[in-house]
Amino acid sequence: MTHRTRPGLKRWRAISAALFFACFATACDYNDIDHLYITTGMGVDREQQGVRLSLDLVQPGGAGNPATSESSNTQGNAPDWIVSTDANTFEDAMSELQAQLSHALYLQHNALVLFSKDALRDFAPVADALERNRQLRRSQLWLVTPGSAENVLRGSQGQTEPISLVIRDLVDEASRRETCFASDELHVVKSLLRPSGVAPLAAVDLGRGGSPEIVGLAYLSRDGRVDLVERDQLLGNAWWLGRTLDVRETVPWVEHGKQGVIGVHWLRTSTRIVVSGEKRPPTLRVVWRGTGEVERWGAKAKMSAQTFAQLESAIREDVRQRLESALAHAKSEDMDAFGFANVCRERGIELPNGEWKNISVEYDIEPHIVHGQLASTTPFSEGSREGGH
């Protein structure tokens, strides 16, 4: 009898012990959703003492809750609320904010880190903290704002979802059209660690209506320098940095001595930088390919083979000018924004510091226009021939 019961007893003891330790190992992670402050965004500003950290927290009692939608709360009926604090370091700021809050901070859903331009001057400690924090995802966006990050987070009005998610959607949509805006942490850090040491970040700010908007592109160098490119200079930079989809531009067009414009809708463009030749410094060939359609044809001339060739030539020249202008700006800022050093490294060529500026560039631009006059002429074309608005 004893022999028959012992194995069973041992088995039950083993199962009980396993359950006991499993409880310890996993049940300690119990965190009911009611006991969490879900963080959807962070704002990092530079203060005299150190950093000012702002967190965008989901407010469960805010908009969207059918049970409590009629009740008032700390910041009205907003879907989120912002808490801020100053501290010497990023970690201290996190601790202080946690001390102010009645529930645990939940960082796994943090969608973005919004740096003020000033804060990026000394971004290494913050970046180090962000990289080390296991709760934060590397897919979170790193963004720049020319002014105060806290103001961007606090100043937005009339949103039905947390402002950070609005900004993330904004940037996601922009990065679908222009890949240079895909400034998630993983890509930014990888770019900073490459030979050129420059990463592009989307720049956002509050618009006139109080809603956030993309104001341009910022280049962040490893040494903390930031160069903000305005929106009117954006297209050339976007072309340098990769593919674009569904973007539009106006190309100057001269007909019979009169200045006009042609609207071009680029369905897709791609840019490759290729090292040509073995001499040092090497020559880079920029291969630009684009497929587009003429969206606004303000010329009197009928579309013919000759006109078409002139049109493509004009477009080619415009693209070249935009690329050259972007490169000139990068050189003036002493930022290898377009990764010349990276391309050379891939070919086994080590460039001395600053040598990238002496590299000669050849442009291989081939625009391909797929629609002609038929699709771009409207009854109102006559009125827009002179350029119009």
Partner: protein, 497 residues
């Protein structure tokens, strides 16, 4: 009982008195005397169990025909089926079965007239296994009718029926049906052995039989298949399975059964085969949803919030704000409430049951949310779980999912997704270890029978399912003998339509 085993007394009056004593009080026992030129006696029957018209006709015939036929005994067989019994107990049993017992003086035996007309309902549509296509009739509570319904479909001398008498106090009849030459002999032996071991005072329903012959004594998973459709029984017999019917039960047990069979519906075989695949996939999905959905919800809200998309998490957090209970208590409460509503809807008369269902939905779904007792998400999850369980064709499997979802919720509340995973592995292990009359429960998936896969997730066209299921190890492997190669078939293979 000892008195009832005695032989008949000399006079019919004594025999009738002893029968009356054995049955007393028995106000529905009727007695009438009869006499012919040579014999006298009594006839007994129980009112309501006998066809009164035929009894009167038989009595008239007995009285009129007794003059010249009494010597040969044919007077006692006035155009009805008869049987001679020599013990009182047999006579009493015949009375209780609805027969008339004819007692004669100086006979020491009785003649039993088979005139039973036991109250029973007519054959009706299947309510528990309704289909849009195919046969619609279902078994009733009379064994003879049920057997006839099977015979009507399977007109073959290979259909064999063995009967067993089970029940100490009230003996009932069980019938075991199989197709000779198809079913494995070991399976028949095993079914007979288990049927012989049944010890009950009476058989109220086939479920009692099931619990006696079930493979694992303690398992929530059904290892026998229940059906009320004769067409399904015939299909099972032709697959080499055994059907068990009980007198008084409108349900038939089919053994052995596998998990996959519980997820196939009769409708699958009556519709186009291309539709069976998505429907069966849906049922597999719904099975796991009915077991896991509340548990996943609890795990995601209490441990693994990082797996939810951010907008969904924000929405769920907004819904959950102000709910006074932890998620697991909220889930368990809702599940219990849903089960209560389901039970109430089942037990109450149909019209009232529907009202309860609607009122319950309104109360739980709307008022409770407005009162801040439960979150809308939880209502959706529990309702979706209930709907998912309703898609399962086998009632036994539905009951299993109703039970299983509770331990999964508890595991999720203690260990999160890790707990669900561990319990899921244990459940699969348990299912893999189950046998139904020697057939692995997860066959033909584990162990794998490739040929039988034609009728698991997909339902192959009938012309592709020429073989019987390998998992049942049938004697005949093919449903029809493989066709000899003919001139025509060679010609078709050359590419002509």
């Amino acid at each position: 009982m000892a008195a009832e085993q005695r032989v008949f007394p000399r006079t019919a009056a004594d025999a009738a008195r002893q029968i009356d004593e054995a049955l007393r009080p028995c106000p529905d026992l009727r007695l009438e005397s009869w006499s012919t030129q040579r014999e006298t006696g009594l006839i007994l029957w129980i009112d309501g169990l006998v066809d009164a018209d035929r009894l009167q006709e038989a009595l008239v015939a007995l009285r009129q025909g007794g003059g010249h036929r009494a010597r040969s005994g044919k007077a006692l067989k006035p155009g009805v089926a008869t049987e001679e019994v020599v013990t009182l107990s047999a006579a009493i049993q015949a009375l209780l079965e609805g027969c008339a017992v004819v007692l004669r003086d100086d006979a020491h035996s009785a003649c039993v007239w088979r005139l039973e007309r036991v109250p029973a309902r007519a054959v009706d549509r299947s309510e528990n296994e309704p289909t849009l296509h195919g046969p619609q009739e279902a078994f009733i509570e009379r064994l003879a009718v049920n057997i006839a319904m099977v015979r009507k479909r399977l007109k073959s001398p290979r259909l064999k029926i063995e009967t067993f008498t089970v029940g100490e106090t009230s003996p009932g009849t069980l019938a075991m049906m199989y197709a000779e030459g198809v079913v494995k002999s070991d399976l028949l032996r095993e079914v007979r052995r288990r049927m012989a071991q049944i010890r009950v005072d009476y058989v109220a329903d086939i479920n009692e039989v099931r619990e006696f012959i079930n493979d694992p004594r303690f398992s929530v998973f059904p290892t026998t298949e229940e059906t009320e459709r004769p067409d399904r029984v015939v299909a099972a017999l032709m697959e080499g399975r055994v059907a068990i019917l009980a007198d008084g039960s409108p349900t038939c047990l089919l053994v052995p059964v596998t998990f996959a069979m519980n997820l196939s519906s009769p409708e699958d075989y009556y519709m186009h085969y291309s539709l069976a695949l998505p429907l069966r996939l849906l049922r597999y999905l719904m099975f796991w949803a009915s077991v896991l959905l509340p548990a996943l919800y609890v795990a995601l809200l209490t441990y693994n919030q990082d797996l939810l998309p951010t907008p969904l998490l924000v929405s769920v957090a907004a819904q959950h704000a102000g709910i006074p209970f932890p998620t697991v208590i909220e889930a368990l409460g809702m599940m219990v409430a849903f089960e209560a509503l389901r039970e109430a809807g089942t037990r109450l008369p149909r019209a009232v049951g529907q009202s309860v269902s609607i009122v319950g939905t309104l109360v739980i779904g709307d008022a409770a949310v407005r009162a801040g007792l439960v979150s809308p998400g939880m209502v959706i999850i529990v309702s979706a779980t209930g709907v998912a369980s309703f898609t399962l064709p086998a009632l036994g499997l539905v009951q299993a999912t109703r039970l299983l979802q509770f331990p999964f919720v508890l595991a999720a509340s203690l260990f999160g997704l890790y707990g669900i995973l561990m319990l899921g592995i244990a459940l699969l292990g348990r299912m893999a270890s189950l046998r139904s009359f020697g057939v692995p429960y997860l066959a033909p998936m584990a162990p794998t029978f490739i040929r039988d896969m034609k009728d698991v997730i997909i339902r192959a066209p009938w012309w592709m399912m020429q073989g019987r299921p390998r998992q049942f190890e049938t004697v005949e492997r093919h449903r029809v003998p493989p066709r000899a190669q003919t001139k025509g078939s060679r010609w078709r293979r050359r590419g002509r339509p």
